[in-house]
């Protein structure tokens, strides 16, 4: 039931903005729900996303700058965006959508929905 609701959140997100891959992951790096290309290792992607967000939290807290809202990794072609979703989970996506504002807005909305379900 929860799984279905979470899958729907990722599907809805894909319908609003251009997203190549997305996943809902526990803070300890376990995959909860994913919409990933077949050649992408889901478990590693999940663990990596949780580790990066955790490390970013340490970095900003160490600098006394509060908790990071998101982590964005920018490559030549795409962005990997990770946002926290409450204490239990996080949401990560890969996008090349030029409208970053919209992507971030939709990701935040999706993250709130995930938090409520979990």
């Amino acid at each position: 039931m929860k799984k279905e609701l979470l899958d729907n959140i990722l599907n809805d997100l894909k319908n609003v903005v251009s997203i190549e891959a997305s996943a809902i992951v526990t803070r300890s790096g376990l995959l909860i729900s994913a919409d990933l290309p077949q050649n992408m290792g889901g478990e590693t992607f999940a663990a990596m996303s949780a580790t990066i967000l955790g490390a970013a939290e340490t970095a900003t807290l160490e600098m006394k700058k509060g908790v990071p809202k998101r982590v964005i990794i920018t490559t030549e072609e795409e962005k990997i965006i990770t946002v926290g979703s409450g204490e239990k989970a996080l949401l990560v996506c890969i996008t090349s959508d030029p409208n970053l504002e919209l992507v971030l807005e939709e990701l935040e909305k999706a993250a709130e929905k995930v938090e409520k379900i979990l």
Partner: protein, 164 residues
């Protein structure tokens, strides 16, 4: 040629508890609790899976017999003493670990009580062994830890409802 350390028929290496304590506390210092937990759980799971797969290949054993062989080697290697009470039909239960090498390493290095369980690598490791042995995804969470001044480390085993 230096003399090799053989444990359970496998060439091994040994670290002092203090070294282990430094290694693991450093990971937590750099990545923070959440980042370190994600890294260590998943690393432990990969190690546990690979270990059980190798043991399956070497001993040709399966299921409970394989699990017991893995546990026996871990006890010989100084991981601590494992006891499990898991329903392998429902994949629910608990694993007790007496004298966890990780928690003891942590205590020996930091000399203080921790605020959270520190055997996340072992939680992943247990999950990996169970997953490889029974081909079922599970989630293992440490509920009690010697580093929290509990008497033993207690791991809860649950079926991974999102995993299959």
């Amino acid at each position: 040629m230096t003399q090799e350390l053989i444990i359970g028929g496998i060439v091994s290496v040994a670290f002092t508890r203090r070294t282990m304590g430094i290694m693991f506390t450093s990971i937590y210092d750099i990545l923070g609790k959440n980042g370190a937990n994600a890294l260590l759980y998943n690393t432990g799971r990969n190690v546990g899976r690979a270990f059980a797969e190798k043991e399956k290949e070497i001993t040709k054993s399966e299921n409970i017999e394989l699990l017991d062989k893995c546990i026996q080697i871990d006890i010989e290697a100084g991981f601590g003493k494992f006891e499990y009470n898991v329903d392998f039909n429902k994949f629910e239960g608990e694993v007790k670990l007496y004298d966890s090498f990780l928690a003891k390493s942590w205590i020996e290095f930091t000399k203080k009580k921790q605020e959270y369980p520190v055997c996340t690598f072992l939680a992943g490791y247990i999950a990996g062994i169970i997953e490889s042995t029974f081909e079922k995804k599970v989630v293992v969470e440490e509920k009690e830890c010697i580093a929290l001044r509990n008497k033993l480390c207690l791991f809860e085993v649950k079926k991974d409802v999102f995993g299959d």
